[in-house]
Every structure is written in C-alpha cells, then in structure tokens.
Amino acid sequence: MAQMTETTQPLQSALGAHGSGRAGASIHAKGITKVYGQGGVSPFHALGPIDLDIKPGEFVSLIGPSGCGKSTTLLLTSGLEPVSDGTVEVDGKPLTKPISEVGIVFQDHLLLDFRTAMQNVLLQQEIRKLDAEKIRARAEMLFDRLGIRGSENKYPRQLSGGMRQRVSIARALVHDPSMLLMDEPFGALDAITRTQIRHDLEMLWLETKKTVLFITHSIEEAVGLSDRVLVMSQSPGQIVEEIKIDLPRPRPAHLGEYPEFSKYAERIYKIFAKLGVYKF
C-alpha cells in the first residue's frame, strides 16, 4: 500500500504563503583537506585539497567514485568534522563548529525509529526551543509539498524507503536553513521513486532557492538537478572538472529529451574513463 502513495500531487511553482524564507548562503572553501588519524600510526588522507565557491541559491553537485571523499566534503562544509587544512566560510563567516543554518539529508534517511514522522521533523524545534507554532506550520507545509501528508503519525518502519527519505528532507528544511547538504539522498531508492523525488526536490528548490550541495554517484541525478557539476577523482579526492549545466527548468522526467543532456553525460563518462574509474 505504501508503494502506491509514492507519487505526489503536482507542486505549485508559485511561491506559496509559507514558501519563501531565508535565502541561500554562499559557501567558500579554500584548500580544504581531511586526513583521518592525523599524527597516528596510519593516517588516511581522505580528501583534498579542494576549493569550493558556491553562490547563494546555487544547486551544485559533487560526483565521483565511491570513497573519493564526497561525504567528507559535506561533513567539512557543515562543520561536523574539522578540516585538517584549509578554511571554510559560510556567508563570509569562518566555520569552526557545527552550524544551525544547515539542513542535512543522509543517504539512508537516519530517522529515529522511536519518533513518528512528524516528531522526527520537529526534533530540531524541540532541541533548539524554536518557535513551536512557526515550525509546526512549516512542517505542515513541507509534508504537503513533499507529498507525505497522512504519514505524520506513522513511525519510520511503517513507511516505504521513498517516504522516509521525503520525511528526512522535510526534517532538513523545517528550520528554514540557508543551505541544504545532501549525501546521496536517493541512493537507496528505486529508479521510479528516484525520478519523482528528484523532480519534487527541484520544485521545492525553485521555490525556496536554498543553496544546495548535492552528493551523488548518479550522472543522471547530477545533470538533472544541478546548475553546476563538480567531478571528483578517486581518493584522496580532488575536483578535476567543473561543468555548468545549461538546461531549462523544471527539467523533465526523461532527461534524454534534451540532446544536451547526453553531451553532459558523455563528458562526465569521459572524465571517469580518463581517471580510470571506468575500464571498458
């Protein structure tokens, strides 16, 4: 039954009453590097050095092979892990600890089993003692927009994978952050659900214009969603190419409609082939 409710009603692209909010933040990272176990017997150089320059309201994807440090980049730009070297600035302010202006969506939703969907979304309000009424209204709006109305009082285990991921997107956005960090958010979903949720995310982003840093394995997702795609090499990951995606929005379910799509995709495949990520 849960599978049937995957699709959602079309989203109005006009700004709704609750639609607007804090604008997107800028992210500047310079020479950020991560070495795990530094000073220990076997330090592991996971990432970098890389530079990021993300404009307010921009949708940027990081694409690269497994273990190249994509997730680490996300942890560094949210302040959840300290950089080993380099600096990160959000809206011009240097980052030293985890910041609240950020919403994070992890690969396997990371919802708390023991809280209902709505309680999961309201967790942040409870912890930060935010304005309950305002947050509640935003949560209701997000449940509507993400097509999960009716699941408020269900526990994560009662929801399908796609619905859980929608709940975790609502959780990341409920406090109206200025940036959204997504770590392979659709990686665990089936192809049909992925296409729908990709579209729903794009529509939500068009309305709210949050800055999005989106990490993915999927060329289709990267090209389908982004203003810019940053292609990373194998570990320790570095950004080897930047590709501006110049396709009209909202983008269709079948990206092949655009001949340019195949060109973008081909470019990324070629980079991966050159790096030895693909051996054909």
Binding site: L80, S100, F106, L110, L112, D113, T116
Partner: protein, 252 residues
C-alpha cells in the same frame, strides 16, 4: 501459516495446563503417594485458599524486596553500561571488575552479607541487586553500542546538548535492549529473594517455606511455590506491559 484466533491462543495453554494438573491429581491418587512427599493439586490449592491471608502478607513482603533489589541492581547496571559504551577508558577500568563480579558465585556471599549487615533487609536487597546488575548491564551495553555513529552527526548538527543527546537519541535507541535485560532479570530476582530469605528472615515467602519444612507441611511448600511463580509471571507481564507503554513504536 494459519491464523489462530485470540480466544484459542489464550484457551489452549490453559487447557493444557489444566490437563497436566488433572494427570498429576490422578497419578497421586492412583499410586496413593503420601501427602508429605507429593501433595495432589487439590491439597495445595485448598491450602492456598485456607492460608490466603498469610500467603498474601508474606508474598507482599517478598514482592517489595524483589522490586527494591531489582531497581538497586538495574539502575547502576544501565548507568555503568552507558559509561562503558561511551568511554573507552570506562570500558578498560570497569569491564575487568564487572567480569570478576560476574564470575563470583554470588549466593555464597549471603553469609558474609549477614555478618556485615546483620538481620535486616539490606543483605537481601544487596544480593538481589548484585545478581540483577550483570544481565542488565550486558544488554544495556549492547543497546548503547547499537547506535548508528552517524546519529551523532545528526544530534550535533541540530545542536543537541549532552543531556538532550542522551534523552532524545541514546536512551530511546538503547531502550529495547535494556528492556530485554529487565524482562529476564525480574524473573531471576524472584528466585534470589526467596533463596536469601531462607538464610535470614522473620517473614517473606522464603521464611514461609522454612516454616513449612519444619512442620513437614509439604502442601504449604507447594502453595508458596504457586504464589512465587504467580509473582514471577505478574512481574514479567508487568514489565512487558511497561515496555509496550513506553516504547509504542516497537509494535511495528
């Protein structure tokens, strides 16, 4: 798999149990077993009715000790488990001590406790606590260690304090394992208290058993046995109920 109706699920075990008692009754009567060796069910059931006030009085005292002893063992068990799961230094210091305590044949400590604490409830509570402590600790450590480390990214990104992290993330995540420890341990506690009551008491079910033995009143021993197992069943049922109430998400 065929579905079994709820009525049948309740009735079936009751009927099997009744059948067993009936068989017991018939065998005791058929072979004319002396009552001081093995009383027939009707003998001790009659005793339960006749002695109900005494059984209730002593049963209540024993139950109180079980609950106090359980709490006295379970609370430190959960707290230490949290420390062991969270801090490697706590694990290094505490685990050897804990293993040593577990290796100790604890019931043999009873006489020592009598020497130290005399004829009070304290030795009984302490011994019960010592025995309930370990299984609760082991299950709680499992529970606290089962938390996905990435949950801490989440708790930190929403700015949770230490206490909020414990209350909103760690304790509820560990709760199912903690409860499975509780459910096993509360039943063990019944046995422990009754055994300790043999050593030193003026009341309680253990004391009643001793009195019954002195007067070769075997039916009374069986009556105490029934009351003891009823207490055990009620307590473990109560614990399951508490789990259902506190952890409603476990049903899904």
């Amino acid at each position: 798999m065929t579905a079994v109706s709820p009525l049948r699920r309740v009735l079936e075990p009751i009927l099997w149990f009744a059948g067993l008692l009936l068989l017991w009754q018939l065998l005791v009567r058929a072979f004319d077993v002396p009552i001081f060796v093995l009383p027939a069910p009707t003998d001790f059931l009659a005793d339960i009715v006749e002695e109900r006030q005494r059984l209730f009085y002593h049963g209540l005292i024993t139950t109180k000790l079980i609950l106090i002893g359980f709490v006295a063992g379970a609370v430190p068990g959960v707290v230490l488990a949290y420390l062991i799961a969270k801090f490697r230094i706590a694990e290094r210091i505490l685990y050897p001590i804990v293993i040593f305590i577990q290796g100790l044949p604890k019931v043999t400590l009873a006489p020592l406790m009598l020497v130290w604490f005399g004829f009070s409830d304290l030795p009984k509570v302490l011994l019960t606590a010592l025995i309930t402590f370990f299984p609760v600790l082991v299950d709680s450590v499992t529970g606290f260690k089962s938390i996905d480390p990435r949950q801490y990214y989440l708790s930190r990104s929403v700015g949770a304090s230490w206490w909020q992290t414990f209350r909103l993330f760690e304790l509820p995540s560990a709760a199912p394992s903690i409860f499975s420890g509780f459910k096993i341990t509360i039943v063990i506690a019944v046995t422990v208290v009754i055994v300790v009551e043999w050593l030193n008491s003026q009341n309680g079910l253990g004391y009643l058993v001793l009195r019954a033995m002195d007067s070769s009143n075997t039916p009374l021993i069986f009556a105490v046995l029934v009351v003891g197992s009823v207490i055990g069943v009620v307590l473990s049922f109560g614990m399951a109920l508490l789990e259902r109430l506190l952890l409603p998400w476990r049903r899904y």
